[in-house]
């Protein structure tokens, strides 16, 4: 249950960040996933998909346009 998966989706074109996050959510099922993104689009897409799948999403600004999304379920 305490597994933490880290998905580094920085610099990837659409739809790769969302696909990678979705894959991690499916593989892990529950627990904690950290997704690193660096575009507003990727942040929006990952957040929407995760919340739609019942995960709680918190965003932490890493500066320089980067952002760490923590997904918990």
């Amino acid at each position: 249950m305490n597994d933490v998966t880290i998905v580094d989706a920085r610099g990837l074109s659409c739809p790769a960040p969302a696909v990678a996050a979705k894959k991690a959510m499916k593989t892990q099922g529950s627990g904690r996933i950290e997704v690193l993104v660096d575009s507003g689009t990727a942040q929006d897409n990952v957040t929407r998909l995760a919340e739609g799948a019942g995960w709680k999403v918190t965003a932490e600004d890493l500066g320089g346009g980067g952002c760490k999304l923590t997904l918990e379920k």
């Binding site: 739809p15 696909v19 575009s39 897409n45």
Partner: protein
């Protein structure tokens, strides 16, 4: 700002963008743009290529302010939202050729995905095989994405790189307003480029300021809502996510209603504006375009918006589209209302082979 941001990242963002495009595009036609071509990222980029002298098809030469507005609108929106982020390094050279072949495919059909939807909503049923081809092209791209296709990661770049594309658009705007003549004929008299069509679709345009304002508005809305006519199909297929899909549905419905209201809805296959009735190559051209757009991560509109928010790889894709316009109208691959070009079908096959090789061989390197 939070409320507005929330609105645009909600499901209503793409829908609002689609409605605005769907209403304004037919109005642009009413005010002078070519039939069912209120907005077309491919045709309009092709017209710009013609105005610059990259091709000499005299009927399709005009600097389209809508395209300039798309980039500058996205620039303004991304600056306001602190999302302007210069970046590059994700296979720009491959993206150039994806842009080129996407353009070549789109000009076999005679329209980008935006215009495919707008043609449908104007009653041009030739758009149906085009959209079917688009869906097939996107689905082939989705297969590659599922197999791990990637053009690699981009990296943050110096600020100046992000400003290059918006600056180029300002130069284009100056060319449009001042119409300089850079050419000299045998007697030394000034001539184009810059070229402006005296007849044909290139001579049909809405008033400059209105077109520019519409472009800016759509650029702003689309940057905020991530509106993408390729992502609409792609995300539904690969993520079961209909966020962008409803934006395209909204576009089609709003445009159909507006066309009906303006008396511009003319159902049928024959005699449609800037269209031909070759079903096979309406389909085939868009398979190529759909696949190339999917491999590059978005539709031509989206590439323009991304280039406005600092994505230099998307800017290279747009330059590839200008290159595609050069090929299409110089090497006889572009269709015309008379039918497909002499080398259109073979070039579509060449483009498909290129995309298949790219799709099968490009993978992200493990670091």
């Amino acid at each position: 700002m939070t409320g507005l941001k929330g609105f645009f990242s909600s499901r209503w963002g793409p829908i609002a963008t689609g409605v605005v495009v769907g209403v304004l595009a037919p109005i642009l036609v009413k005010l002078g743009n070519p039939g069912n071509m209120g907005i077309c990222a491919a045709c309009f980029t092709r017209d710009i290529a013609g105005a610059l002298g990259l091709h000499r098809a005299g009927v399709v030469q005009y600097i389209r302010p809508e395209i300039i507005g798309f980039v500058l609108g996205a620039l303004v929106a991304s600056l306001a939202a602190r999302e302007f982020r210069p970046r590059t390094g994700s296979s720009p050279f491959i993206r150039f050729f994806l842009g080129m072949f996407a353009m070549i495919g789109a000009l076999v059909f005679l329209g980008c995905p935006w215009r495919a939807y707008l043609r449908l909503s104007g009653g041009d049923w030739n758009a149906i095989p085009g959209i079917a081809g688009l869906v097939v092209g996107v689905l082939i791209g989705v297969v590659f994405l599922k197999m791990g296709f990637s053009l690699g990661r981009n990296r943050p770049a110096p600020k100046a790189l992000g400003w290059a594309m918006p600056l180029l658009m300002v130069v284009f705007l100056a060319f449009l307003i001042f119409a300089p003549q850079f050419g000299r004929d045998a007697e030394g008299a000034a001539t184009g480029p810059i070229f402006f069509s005296a007849k044909g679709p290139g001579a049909m345009y809405a008033p400059l300021l209105f077109s520019l304002a519409v472009g800016l508005l759509i650029g702003i809305l689309a940057q905020r809502s991530r509106f993408c006519t390729i992502g609409a199909i792609r995300d539904l297929a690969i993520l079961r996510d209909a966020y962008l899909f409803w934006g395209v549905v909204a576009l089609i419905v709003a445009a159909a209603i507006t066309n009906l209201a303006l008396g511009q809805f003319k159902p049928g296959f024959a005699d449609q504006p800037v269209a031909h009735t070759n079903t096979l190559w309406n389909f085939g051209g868009m398979v190529l375009a759909g696949l190339a757009f999917t491999l590059a991560g978005g539709c031509p509109g989206r590439q323009l918006f991304l280039s406005g928010e600092g994505d230099a790889d998307a800017a290279v894709f747009v330059l590839g589209m200008l290159g595609g316009a050069f090929v299409a109208h110089t090497y006889s691959t572009a269709s015309s209302p008379a039918g497909v070009g002499a080398f259109g079908p073979i070039m579509v096959v060449v483009g498909l082979v290129f995309c298949l090789v790219v799709g099968l061989t490009m993978r992200e390197r493990r670091t």
